[in-house]
Subunit: 340 residues, 2 copies
DNA sequence: TTGTCTCTTGAACACGTGTTCACTGATCTG
DNA sequence: CAGATCAGTGAACACGTGTTCAAGAGACAA
C-alpha cells in the first residue's frame, strides 16, 4: 500500500454551495433537488445530482435539523437487554425506524431514574420522537415531551399519561388462553408463578390467568417469586416440588422464567413433562424452541409492535393534540412439547 | 386531570439568548458557563446556571454540532442481535458510550452491503466515530471515514485497513487453551466444529484449537457445518453420533453452537456428558450457565472490550494519523459441567 | 402587441451555538 | 505612581441548511 493511500488527504466535506457552483446554479436549487415535492426543473435536478455525486456530497443533517427544528433522530430507551425477547424487540424497532427514514438513538438503562435522565438528554437532540421499552418514565418528563411536541410511545406498560401512546401485546388475553388450554387438556390444578416486581405487562398476564382460572372454578395456586427471571423460575420449581402436586398446569409469565422452572423441574427434580405437569410461557424467545425446552408459549408480535409504534409516532407528530391511544396486539399460542 | 394539564402549552425551547437576557449577561457568557475550562467568573457562572435552570434551558446539540463540525453521536453498527453475546456487547458498549458523554446511533444490519450503507448514512451526522461489530465493511467506506477524520473501530474482525483500529478477544488463545484442557483431562480424540461461513473471530478460534491439537500429536477430527448457530450445533451432533467416537473432546467456536451440540447429544442421542465426551464453547452467554447446559466455556470480556473501544476512538480522534492498532484481550475459561 | 398566468430561480433570512478578538478594569511589579 | 499583566466580557462571525419572497422567463388568450 502506497504512502499516499495510507495517509488519505483530509477533505473538507462538500457543501451545497460547492455543488451549486459546480452545477452552475444557486444553492437554493441544490436544496430543492434533495427536497421531494419542491419546484425544480428536470434538467436542473439532473445537473445537481450529477455534481453532487461527483463531489460525494451529503446533506449535513445537523444543519438541516437546526434549520427545521427537528432531526431524524428517535430516542430508544431500553432496559434488560439480557432478555432475548428485548433484543428481538430492539432489532425489529431499529430496523423499522431506519426503513422509515429515522435513526435510533439508543439508551440502555437500568431503572426509572436512568430512564428519566435519558429522556431528558434526548430532548437536547431535537428528536422526532421517543420510544420507551424500559421502566415507566415519571409523569414530569412525559409532560416535558408533550410541551416540546415530542411524541412519546411506551411499549408494554400500562399507566395512562396524557399525550403518551402505548403499545402492548394482549397480555391478559394470553394469560386467559393459557388457563383455557390447561383446563381443556384436563389439568386439575392451575398454578401461576407471580413475580413481586411490578411490571405492567407481566402482571397483566398473571392477572388474566388467575381471573380465567377462578371464573372456571379450578383450583388455583400462586407461587410468588421476586422477578420474572430464569433464576426465579428455578426457585419456583423448588417451591412447586415441595407441594407434590399432580396433574398441574403451570403458567410462567415470561419464557425466561418458564425455562428456569422447566429446567429445574427436569434436571433437578426429575419431573416428567408434560406427563406429570404442563408448562406454558410467554414471549417465544429463540431458546424456547431449543430441544431441551420445547416450550409451549405465546409469540410476541415484535414486527407488528414496531410497525404500530411508528404509526403512533407519525400520527402524533402530524397532530400533537390527539387523545392518547392504547393499541393491544393479539398473541398466538405456539404449542410445543410442554403441553399435551 | 384538568383540561389545562391535558393540553400543555407548547413552549418554544429556551435559547442561550433567553438565558443571557435573564441573567443580565451576554450570550457568550452563557456559552462559557456550559463549556468546561473557559474563562468565566464564579458569580457570572452562578447567575447563568440559575437563569438556565429556571428556564429549563438545554443546549441545542444540533446547533452545537453544526458549529463544532462534530457531534456527540457515535455510530454503532451491529448484526445478529439474536445472539445473546451480541446483546451483551451492545449493552456494554451503549452504556460505556453514554457514560463517556457520547450517544450511540444504532444500526441493526444483515450483511456487508447494509453495513456499508449504514456507515455511509452515519457520515451525514457528523459522528465522532463509528463502531462496527457486524460484517466486515468494504475498504472504500473505511477510506471515506479516514478522509473525514471519523475514527473507525472494528470489533472481532481481522482484516487490516489503514487507520482502522481493532479489538478482539484472544480467539486463537482460547482455542489453544480448549485443546490443552482436553489433552490434560485425557481425551483421546479432539474434535473441532468448523463453520463454512467465514467470520474472523470464529475462524481464529478453530484455527487456534486445530493448531494446538496438531502440535500435540493428538488425533483431530473436523466436523464442518454451515455457520456457528444453535441449529448447526445440532447438525454437528448428528454427524458426530454417526462416528461412535469414545472419549472425545469437542470444541464449538460459539456457545450457541455448543448448546445446540450439547442439547442434541443429550436429548436426541442420549449421550452422557462429560463421562463419554467433553464439550467446550466460547462466549459465556447467560444460557450456558443454565442447568440443562452447564457448559464449560470462555468468558468474553465485554466490559473491557467496550472500554478499549472507547480508548481507541478517543486516541484516534486526538491524532488521526496514528498507525492502526489491534488490541487483543485475554479470555478466561469458565469450567462447568461439560468437562471433567 | 398586451396582459395574465404558471413555472422556475436566486438573494436573503433564520435556525442556536462556540470561538475569536479587541477592549475594559483590576491587580501586580518596579 | 506609572507601566505591565491578566482575567473577564461582549460584539461579530461562521457553521450548512430549508424556505420565503420578489423577480424573471415563457406560454397562452384576448
Amino acid at each position: 500500500m502506497s504512502p499516499k493511500e495510507r495517509h488519505p488527504q483530509r477533505k473538507q466535506a462538500a457543501t451545497s454551495f460547492d455543488v451549486a457552483r459546480r452545477a452552475g446554479v444557486s444553492r437554493a436549487v441544490v436544496s430543492r433537488a434533495f427536497t421531494p415535492g419542491s419546484s425544480i426543473s428536470p434538467e436542473s435536478r439532473k445537473k445537481v445530482l450529477k455534481a453532487a455525486s461527483e463531489l460525494d456530497y451529503r446533506v449535513n443533517q445537523m444543519a438541516r435539523a437546526l434549520n427545521l427544528k427537528r432531526s431524524d433522530l428517535v430516542g430508544l430507551v431500553v432496559s434488560d437487554m439480557a432478555n432475548p425477547y428485548r433484543a428481538a424487540q430492539i432489532d425489529a424497532l431499529a430496523k423499522r425506524l431506519v426503513a422509515d427514514g429515522y435513526r435510533p438513538l439508543l439508551f440502555c438503562v437500568d431503572g426509572n431514574a436512568e430512564t428519566e435522565q435519558s429522556i431528558s438528554l434526548l430532548l437536547n437532540y431535537s428528536v422526532s420522537g421517543v420510544v420507551v421499552t424500559s421502566g415507566l418514565p415519571p409523569e414530569a418528563i412525559c409532560f416535558k415531551c408533550a410541551e416540546r411536541n415530542v411524541p412519546l410511545v411506551i411499549i408494554d406498560r400500562g399507566h395512562n399519561y396524557p399525550h403518551v401512546d402505548q403499545v402492548t401485546s394482549d397480555n391478559a388475553g394470553g394469560g386467559h388462553e393459557a388457563a383455557a388450554k390447561f383446563i381443556r387438556q384436563g389439568n386439575r390444578h392451575l398454578v401461576a408463578v407471580e413475580p413481586d416486581l411490578v411490571v405492567f405487562s407481566v402482571s397483566a398476564r398473571v392477572e388474566g390467568f388467575k381471573h380465567a382460572a377462578k371464573s372456571s372454578g379450578c383450583e388455583l395456586t400462586v407461587i410468588r417469586v421476586s422477578d420474572p427471571s430464569y433464576a426465579s423460575g428455578q426457585q419456583a420449581a423448588d417451591r412447586f416440588a415441595c407441594k407434590a402436586m399432580r396433574n398441574a398446569g403451570v403458567f410462567c409469565p415470561t419464557d425466561l422464567c418458564a425455562l428456569g422452572f422447566l429446567d429445574a423441574m427436569r434436571t433437578k427434580h426429575g419431573a416428567d413433562i408434560p406427563q406429570e405437569l404442563s408448562v406454558i410461557g410467554y414471549d417465544d424467545i429463540p431458546q424456547s424452541s431449543w430441544e431441551f425446552a420445547n416450550l409451549t408459549t405465546f409469540r410476541q408480535p415484535v414486527v407488528e409492535i414496531a410497525a404500530t409504534t411508528l404509526e403512533l409516532l407519525e400520527s402524533r407528530f402530524a397532530d400533537p393534540e390527539l387523545e392518547e391511544r392504547q393499541v393491544v396486539l393479539p398473541v398466538h399460542m405456539i404449542e410445543r412439547g410442554t403441553t399435551l
